[in-house]
Symmetry: C2
Subunit: 194 residues, 2 copies
């Protein structure tokens, strides 16, 4: 591997989904540094459908916690920062800026809403993964969660053109921050050569 | 950032989607090292729906190229290694191994096929992104593509329980391997604080 072992540990091997955090704040400067790194991750046609909502105020936090599943509430209430990652189903409106060599790409490939929704889910999830890796690259732990009332979350914070992908708790891991590592599938279970 | 600048460059800033490759082979040992690193990336309920098909034989390569969009054929034919990344819609059958503390998770949460398909798309895409990062961590360039006949690809290489997510060319970048970097959305376009 070209990536040094310590960096491999930071991003994958020792990184864990944290369930408890210290009180140390996560600053806007840290989030900007994360975004400015991971924005370069590839998406199909550079479509970049991910949008990020940072839950900063106590009022917004309280509104968010009410839509989380029971088992996710305490950690969502106590994490230094919580981010709602969502896709924008109208991402094609930005394509003239994003693919200036193909200014009609939006009309040609993405005029159908159902096509955009599927494409935004795939490519928004890619960008969500880059974001999680970026949080780890910043020396922070991420706690991604999909256990929430998606329609409630959408109605509370988003609109009909945005779909929540996941909610992510962000901060430095606290005491007993994680469970033992779960097993993974082996190479032979996942990879087949033809 | 805790991740060293050179590693940030390797994974994001200088990494690019390659369209041309040298002839240097990509070995099974390299793919195994990539998998054994990125398998630790998080998925919801550790569901791990990603499956990888390595196109090794000339016959398989020829079958694959025929399903790619015109503009993707030459590079797919010439890349040292091509991988088809797919999701397994029957991933819940592996859950007793993956979440041994909740052996009935598959029946309780994933008995509905439509739920599994959406979950496999989101979580398979997360794992596909980890895989692309892993290819870069190995010092290789990845060329992810979604321009292909998905139903043709499925019928050729997969079955009704597997859905292609993307096809990835892998190798060392060759001459004129990429176009100039496309613009990205700014922090203020993507991130909102509440």
């Amino acid at each position: 591997m070209a990536l040094a072992p310590a960096a491999q540990d930071l991003l994958f091997r020792e990184a864990r989904t944290a369930n408890a955090f210290t009180a140390e704040p996560v600053t806007d400067a840290q989030v900007q540094a994360i975004y400015d790194l991971v924005k370069y991750g590839p998406t199909a046609f550079n479509q970049s459908p991910l949008r990020v909502l940072l839950i900063r105020s106590p009022e917004a936090r309280e509104r968010l916690v009410g839509h989380m599943d029971e088992g996710n509430r305490a950690k969502t209430a106590s994490a230094p920062l919580v981010a709602v990652l969502a896709t924008d189903h109208e991402f094609h409106e930005e394509l003239p800026r994003l693919v200036p060599h193909a200014p009609r790409a939006g009309e040609v490939y993405f005029s159908d809403r159902a096509v955009r929704e599927q494409s935004a889910l795939l490519n928004g999830a890619l960008q969500a993964a880059y974001f999680l890796i970026g949080v780890r690259a910043a020396g922070l732990a991420a706690g991604p969660m999909t256990g929430y009332d998606a329609e409630g979350l959408r109605a509370e914070f988003l609109d009909a053109d945005h779909e929540p992908l996941m909610v992510v708790n962000i901060g430095r891991p606290g005491d007993d921050a994680w469970f033992p590592r779960l097993p993974r599938l082996g190479y032979g279970d996942v990879v087949t050569a033809l």
